[in-house]
Symmetry: C2
Subunit: 141 residues, 2 copies
């Protein structure tokens, strides 16, 4: 997932958001960093080229991006938030040895689950979406 600065400018302005160097850098970091970065890794990455960015700015931008559905939060069993720039429905591989979370995309799985949820109606609950958390270990861990 690589976007040029120009594409990132458009992503922001298409949502009616002010295009600032900080926002460009933050969104770029989310797109570039593998394994679903935390706010902290985003800040660390950005400070290489942009050493003065304030942590509050990053958190505020992340919130704005979430509100505007430019990114998503990943659920984890830790108290550090992780972010995802991929918006299409997909699932996640969680490693018990390292803290990388990888995307898992498979159409067959989606079809399987869509059919299941179309058939089964969960009473008292209106379904919006589903994600499979796949836990295990990467071979190189």
């Amino acid at each position: 997932m690589k976007y040029s600065t120009e594409e990132i400018r458009n992503i922001l302005s298409d949502k009616g958001l002010k295009v600032t160097p900080q926002r460009i850098a933050i969104l770029d970091a989310i797109y570039k960093l593998e394994g679903h970065p935390s706010a902290d890794s985003i800040i660390e990455y950005i400070r290489k080229n942009n050493p003065n960015i304030a942590t509050g700015t990053v958190y505020k931008a992340l919130d704005t991006f979430l509100e505007n559905k430019l990114i998503k939060k990943i659920t984890t069993d830790r108290d550090i938030m992780r972010y995802d720039g991929v918006l299409e429905n997909h699932h996640h591989l969680y490693c018990s040895e390292c803290d990388i979370i990888e995307n898992y995309v498979d159409e067959e799985l989606d079809t399987l689950l869509n059919e299941y949820f179309r058939k089964i109606r969960i009473k008292g609950f209106h379904l919006k979406e589903f994600t499979v958390q796949i836990r295990g270990t990467f071979d190189n861990c």
Copy 2:
């Protein structure tokens, strides 16, 4: 999921854990509280009968219970940890309106996914378990 004090004592001592009034109260709270309590709701609940319990005690006990696989953590997109006393494989309903997380148990879904993962091998990854996060809203929200 209701356990008597005597059953809770046994659950603890079967794991070789010291049986203390605090640990009994904490485990009892997890079993009694619906919707997967946070440490804070556990503390609040326990303090009704046991006003002097220290927060550190609760966090330490929760850690011990996790290590001994008496409880599990629930993954959320918030920085507050939530706990689950149900150990059998099951899935979760997340409501976007309230912060209750409900268990979702369905054998058909488990079979479906077990078959899928038996057939599909995720390359470079050794699967241990999977959970489906089902997001939507409860009708009464």
